[in-house]
């Protein structure tokens, strides 16, 4: 109880925003698919953190329930992502996303 009261919510949100930015930057800058998936995970964890912080601020369990939802959703997403990654490696012999980029867009 006391921890949630002594740390202002804004600080926690700022930390989450920094994590989110690091993840976003990673997705955009990295070319290796594994690192892109990891960065995606960081972004989703930053979101989960916002819910935890807000839940602690309001003294509700809702935030933690959302955290568990996000956790499972992120796991499912990465599971499919890793499956695709294996296919990409078999097809292109590389995990470089630029090598897999054949279409114009």
């Amino acid at each position: 109880m006391s921890v949630a009261l002594t740390i202002p919510m804004e600080h926690g949100l700022l930390l989450a925003a920094i994590l989110f930015s690091i993840g976003l930057l990673g997705v955009m800058v990295r070319r290796n698919i594994i690192f892109i998936l990891m960065s995606l995970e960081i972004m989703l964890n930053a979101c989960a953190m916002v819910f935890i912080i807000a839940g602690a601020h309001w003294g509700q369990a809702d935030g933690q329930i959302m955290f568990m939802l996000i956790l499972s959703v992120a796991a499912a997403e990465v599971a499919v992502g890793l499956g695709l990654l294996l296919q990409v490696f078999r097809r292109f012999d590389s995990l470089d996303i630029d090598k897999a980029n054949r279409m114009r867009g």
Partner: protein, 482 residues
């Protein structure tokens, strides 16, 4: 006490998914899998109608609200998924073994879309969105032989993941200031209008809109659309353009109406630009395409730009009712038309194993080879262009009417310009089909595909010639929402 009876459609669809999964585990048979999915979707549709006729609109737990609005779109999604199942059957017949799970994933994605249409809480919103999204990743990468489908799935996975993260972060910020996750409680004064609270609200809403813009492929978040549509198998591209986008739009509309996002000027300005740019860029870039799938992708960007005009028009109190009616009717017409257009591409690609037959050249002379198929395609394209006697015309007329009612003059000018450009590239396809060209391939129209297309075309024409009953129904439904 909450009764779970209004959720009967979702339960039936879930039951169908379980039955299908067991059936696949014991016996792999494409006809059986397709049959179970079709029967499951039909039962879902019947139960949706039953729930609509017999039960009052109600909240089922704080997460879901089953009302006419949600049921209407759940029904449309069931019908659309049914059409896609039938079209996908012959498409998958010629594509080797292990095609059964396609239907499983299709039903799962449809379930996610239906949850989205009735969700009034962030928890159910996120669950629906991800159930839809994750099934779609697998659907896009389903053809194991193609290189393009893999690339499309990877692109969609990464961008959809980013957009989900944006939506979640935005929702988290809104939760941080309001202390509630339910849409209705936001509206009941949970949102502060001053000080740092408002900064959080604006940042949160902006992030949510950016994420939803990705899912709806609105400019400037549209970059992934043409590549993903080109790489995805044709039935899945049809699914992406209709059910996936439509359900997110329905959820957005619910959220915005409940929260009254229209009171924030900066958000409305953003939406204004998004709508205008989507219409302009979508139509202009569609001019440059030589692949029908890419053309339809850009056209769907433009169509959602038109839809956003009605969405913005809801902000004016005077035109609110008409604008909701316009958005709903336009979306219905868009669903039918788009599924028809992708249906023709699916039928054309039935025999080509590696890559879908989607280059414009492949369609040359289609009128002389397969007159009926070419006629279906022409009607779909004319409906997208908004030519009278089709549902697309009534939809676009509605958009214009609601824009006039809410006095969105600059956007209306862009609608007119966009429609003009649109007419050009839609007619280009029709022109290519009427050319006298050497017969390139032997196109066979399967019975399931042919009949599905006939039904879709019939519905489109009936809705265009005699829209009265549907309009009346939609109008009553819009009254409930206001």
């Amino acid at each position: 006490m909450t009764t779970f009876l209004p959720l009967l459609p979702l339960m039936i669809l879930t039951g169908a998914i379980l039955v299908l999964m067991m059936a696949i585990a014991f016996m792999r048979n494409l006809a059986l899998s397709c049959g179970i999915s079709v029967i499951g979707l039909l039962l879902t549709l019947i139960s949706i109608i039953w729930v609509n006729l017999n039960l009052e609109p109600s909240y089922v737990t704080p997460l879901l609200r089953v009302d006419d609005f949600g049921l209407l779109f759940s029904g449309i999604m069931a019908v659309t998924a049914l059409f896609i199942c039938l079209l996908a059957y012959s498409y998958h017949q010629n594509r080797g073994e292990h095609q059964d799970e396609f239907f499983l994933l299709l039903l799962l994605a449809t379930l996610g879309a239906m949850v989205l249409t009735i969700s009034v809480h962030f928890a159910s919103f996120v669950l629906g969105l991800e159930l839809l999204g994750i099934s779609i990743y697998a659907l896009i990468s389903y053809p194991t032989k193609g290189v393009f489908s893999l690339e499309a799935a990877l692109k969609y996975l990464i961008l959809s993941g980013i957009s989900s993260a944006f939506i979640l972060f935005g929702a988290g910020l809104l939760y941080a200031v309001s202390g509630t996750l339910s849409f209705a409680d936001f509206a009941a004064g949970g949102i502060p209008n001053t000080g740092t609270g408002q900064v959080f609200v604006l940042a949160g809403s902006a992030m949510m809109l950016a994420g939803i813009g990705f899912k709806l492929s609105l400019v400037p978040f549209h970059m992934w659309t043409p590549d993903v549509y080109e790489g995805a198998p044709a039935p899945v591209a049809g699914f992406l353009a209709t059910i996936s986008k439509g359900s997110v739009f329905v959820a957005l509309m619910r959220f915005f109406l409940a929260v009254d996002g229209y009171q924030y000027d900066s958000i409305m300005t953003g939406l204004y630009w998004i709508a205008g740019l989507s219409m302009l860029l979508g139509n202009i870039l569609a001019l440059l395409q030589s692949s029908i799938k890419r053309l339809l992708a850009y056209s769907s960007i433009a169509q959602f730009g038109y839809l956003m005009v009605a969405f913005i028009a809801i902000s004016e109190l005077a035109g609110k009712h008409l604008a909701i009616e316009a958005a709903v009717f336009f979306l219905i017409a868009y669903f039918i038309t788009t599924i028809g257009a992708f249906g023709v591409v699916t039928i054309m690609s039935d025999k080509s194993e590696d890559h879908d037959l989607d280059s414009l050249d492949a369609y040359e002379g289609l009128f002389w080879q397969r007159p009926l198929l070419a006629a279906f395609m022409s009607i779909m394209l004319l409906s997208l262009a908004g030519i009278p006697l089709t549902a697309g015309f009534i939809g676009k007329f509605y958009i214009l009417a609601s824009g006039v009612e809410s006095q969105l003059w600059p956007l209306l000018v862009i609608v007119v310009i966009g429609s003009g450009i649109g007419l050009f590239y839609y007619l280009r396809v029709i022109y290519a089909m009427t050319k006298k060209a050497a017969a390139n391939t032997d196109i066979e129209v399967s019975a399931a595909g042919g009949w599905t297309m006939a039904v879709v075309t019939l519905v489109l024409l009936v809705l265009g010639v005699y829209p009265g009953p549907v309009i009346e129904w939609v109008s009553n439904m819009a009254l409930q929402l206001v």
